[in-house]
């Protein structure tokens, strides 16, 4: 089992890696660390894959590990592995200056949030999870999720370079 991937694991990685990597980048703000985070999580899932599949929701499980691993990073100095040797240069390095600047503004604004606030923002607004599901993934209470989401949005709104609008369902929560 340790030599080749367990049944279905390769297909799962092929199908879901892009979405998970996107979330990992929003959490870390760095392509290398995002890949590192994703590989760390997938390596965890590799050893438990049969049980994860038997649980019936492999993507939910892996996503949960992704976010909890990310949030736990703050508790220790990051000693993760550096995957840059395996990451090729992007196919195209044509990146318009303005587009890059816009991304950088968001990346820097996210970097100003705490790890838990970033995790809440990505789960709530990118993964589109409910407050209760977000709380379940992060292992905290719904009230904590509401407080952290509110604080994160307030911080993003206070950023002069950004003016994010919550979706209509978020207003008044």
């Amino acid at each position: 089992m340790s030599g080749s991937p367990p049944d279905g694991f390769t297909e799962f990685v092929a199908a879901r890696s892009d979405a998970l990597l996107r979330s990992a980048w929003l959490l870390t703000g760095d392509a290398g660390r995002a890949e590192d985070l994703l590989q760390t999580v997938l390596a965890t899932a590799w050893g438990r894959w049969p049980r994860i599949v038997a649980g019936g929701h492999p993507e939910a499980y892996v996503r949960r590990v992704l976010f909890t691993t990310y949030v736990s990073w703050w508790r220790r100095r990051w000693r993760g592995e550096v995957p840059s040797a395996d990451v090729p240069e992007p196919a195209s390095r044509v990146d318009l200056a303005g587009e890059h600047a816009d991304r950088d503004v968001v990346r820097r604004a996210l970097a100003g949030l705490s790890r838990q606030q970033r995790a809440v923002v990505v789960l709530r607004y990118v993964e589109d999870l409910s407050v209760e599901r977000t709380a379940e993934v992060l292992g905290c209470s719904s009230a904590t999720v509401r407080v952290q989401a509110s604080r994160a949005l307030r911080a993003l709104r206070a950023d002069p370079a950004l003016n994010p609008q919550p979706s209509s369902e978020e207003v008044g929560r």
Partner: protein, 346 residues
Amino acid sequence: MNVRDMLLDAVPPLPSPPDRIAAVGRRYRRRRRRAAVAGTLALAILAGVAAGLPQLTRRESLEPVRPVGPATCPQTTGDRAGRDWVSAGDGRVLPGNPVEVVACDLDVDVRSPAADPLYPPASPPRALSGGADVVAALNRVSPVIACYDIYGLRQPVFLLRYADRPPVFVNLNPDCRRDASWDEPLRVFLTDFREQRLRTTTAADVPTPTCDPTVDVPSLWLDRTPPWAGPLTLGVLAGEPPLPFEPAAATFCRYAFERPLASLRTAEHATDAGQRFRTAVNEAPSNGAGCPKRTDHLVLDVVKVADLAGVAPAEFRYLRTRSCVDGVQASPAVLAAVDEVLGPIS
């Protein structure tokens, strides 16, 4: 642009390794080898140092940072007790590295609270570890325009405790003319304090509210607390619904309506029903004002709800009659949530 679009647009094209599965496999195998080595080493270390471990950990444990001076709240504005008093807005910059901030509810009224049943309940001292955000908010308070000694019943006083200097009392006089910056220290304190409670409290730590055996009808406030009780007592911020957090415990009490004392008839503890009550009361906050022209009230219903973040159980009171055509009643959903536990009034 909404938050989702903004975030998704910010993600750059992300390169993938040529063979992610192979990379993950290498990590997995490396992790297994490390786990095996670590397990062997751990057994050896445990066997070797078990006898000396207690002394070792005792020597190396870090002493917690201890604040200087007592944490006692002042009893009156004249109670200086050798501590430094500062009035917010006087321009003094407070050191921004407190070990603890304690919010005190200071009596400034000439009446004796104990002798006056209408006096708002005092908030017990509430201690927040750290509290640098609170000090920053205190340092941002605008200068006072003028102060009057008119309305004061209670006023918040912050006790700032430091590791390297004596404690400081900061007085936020509510009778001063001021701007919105004066509301910020209390708002920041309560936000951080509630968050601290959510981190450190479990449902098992929350006492189940109890029903008082009798209720004094002449001094009865049908609102959840007397109207001048401040956020430090209520634990709820301006603009929030009455019950911002999920209940950890809820108690429903029904009293036979009698003057001057209403006596307890039924008491039920029901956390799940408390959740349904919370939904109803948050959708239609109501003080259960009852029917002002009616005197044939049948029962008084009191609902007490405690949550993980709450500083004290919130209390809601409803004076009930069979029908009410000339007064403001609580919403039917609220009363239905009460009756679900206590049964229909009869």
